[in-house]
Amino acid sequence: MASAAQIIIDRVNHLYRPPRGREVLALDQVSLEVANREFVALLGPSGCGKSTLLYLIGGFLPVETGAILIDGEKVAGPGPDRGIVFQHFALFPWKTVRGNILYGLERQGMPKEEREKRAMDFIELVGLHGFEDSYPSQLSGGMKQRTAIARTLAFGPDILLMDEPFGALDAQTRALMQSELLRIWQRTPKTVIFVTHDVQEAVYLADRVAVMSARPGRIKTIVDTKFDKNDPDILKAKAFVEKVDEIWHLVREEAIKAQGKRA
């Protein structure tokens, strides 16, 4: 494996063991390589294990068969080299915006002045200036997710793991956050793995889209989706629309299979 891949996922299986009932094969021989500073979307019907794969990369769930390598090292637990952003934000509700962002910096033992400055820089970056002393319960959904993104970016991970980060937001906020994420990504380039079930979102944001099959989750195809992200009319461009349509059909087949299995 002499490739330049930063993340190597090598034939990973995952068994989901519910507290009651039979175990379910959630991931089946999943292999994927992601290059440094690449933006990859994991796309698939709900229940296909795409979030599970993200949690395995994050080190939150143990890799039992197969291996996940980050820069050549096996993942053995969570680490600050990989930062995660959750769909429901997972902000600490008893801390202010600033306090949430500071937490990771405190854990790293960064000196007080430096971390205060860094926190404010990232509050600025995500456009939350003036809200640094607000509690999460006082913020809108979009502002909560901006806080969560700032919190994760602030501790400086090389890899950003995003678990349907805009899934809980309304359509307008969602569109806004997508272009904001691209803007931030272009300013602080990182490797991003982005889980979503929104085809257009995946094609718009990612360099490559990995389409996953219905349970048990496999990587069905990987589609190249490099478009000019700075083109304001990209969403209406013919090539873009065709790409969305192509991938949409792939996902649809899997969604139907998933429905069939459940029925």
Binding site: G58, G79, F92, Y135, S137, G141
Partner: protein
């Protein structure tokens, strides 16, 4: 709904409105007290059966002037609060242990399940035999009663902490000890506080009941003494005093809750998204 409620009102009007509301909430109590006074004076009942409110207030005033009220109230409060604090600390510690260790859960879970609904006052004779009739046995009874809601609330609270919250903290480098103190406990605090808010009036109730059964000083003891001397004004004075003390305790606890949970949804003025 929110849009209708949130018509902006000038500050003066708002203050007037909230004062009126606070006053309106007391109307039912005022009516009850007035009815008490009227019934007592109407001659339907003898003063022995129901002394007039005015006579009871006079008795409370005299108790306050002689210092008896202060002594009895502080003795009862002392027992209730010591018992409450032991139950609070012990309950949270036990609840945490049960959440973290399978062995502790295996051992204590059945005990909590059987003990919670059980009338703990049934142990009073045993506690008297073992510990006598003084403060220690009363406080033991209070702890015994008040610890159950605290343990149950702590276990439920810790179980309810979102997995994502823990993962986020671990992602940012929190170790086991930091997770517990900096993430799990603050996240569990609203539910733990609810358990404490149940335990506090329970502590006062058990304090008064044990005083009644064991005698001695305290509001409950003073009531039993008055009852033995057929002093119905004294008995009713005790009821009013306990009601006031209990109300003050509950209000103080609610205030502490609002202070501690300033960040919580319930403390915000506007509705949740």
């Amino acid at each position: 709904m929110a849009a209708i409620d949130q018509a902006p009102a000038p500050p003066a009007l708002r203050i007037l409105r909230s004062t009126l509301w606070a006053g309106a909430r007391l109307v039912s109590i005022a009516l009850l007290l007035t009815a008490w006074e009227l019934v007592a004076r109407s001659g339907i009942v003898t003063p022995f059966q129901l002394p007039a409110l005015s006579a009871v207030l006079e008795r409370i005033w005299n108790d306050a002037a002689s210092g008896d009220l202060a002594i009895n109230t502080s003795v009862t409060l002392y027992r209730a609060m010591v018992g409450f604090f032991i139950a609070a600390v012990g309950g949270v510690v036990l609840g945490m242990a049960m959440s973290r260790s399978a062995a502790a859960r295996w051992f204590f879970d059945p005990i909590i399940s059987v003990g919670f609904p059980m009338p703990k006052i049934a142990f009073l004779p045993v506690v008297i035999l073992w510990l006598g009739v003084f403060d220690i046995s009363k406080i033991t009874m209070i702890v015994f009663d008040a610890i159950f809601p605290v343990v149950a609330a702590t276990v439920i609270a810790i179980q309810g902490v979102e997995r994502e919250l823990i993962w986020s903290a671990r992602n940012m480098g929190a170790g086991q000890r930091e997770l517990l103190w900096q993430i799990v406990l603050p996240a569990a605090l609203p539910t733990i506080m609810t358990g404490l808010q149940v335990a506090l009036p329970l502590s006062l109730i058990v304090a008064v009941v044990t005083e009644m059964l064991m005698g001695g000083y305290g509001l409950g003891g003073a009531m039993m003494t008055a009852s033995r001397f057929a002093n119905s004004t004294g008995v009713f004075a005790g009821i009013v005093e306990i009601a006031v003390v209990g109300y003050a305790l509950v209000k103080a606890m609610a205030l502490i809750r609002r202070r501690l949970l300033i960040w919580h949804q319930e403390s915000q003025n506007f509705p949740s998204p």
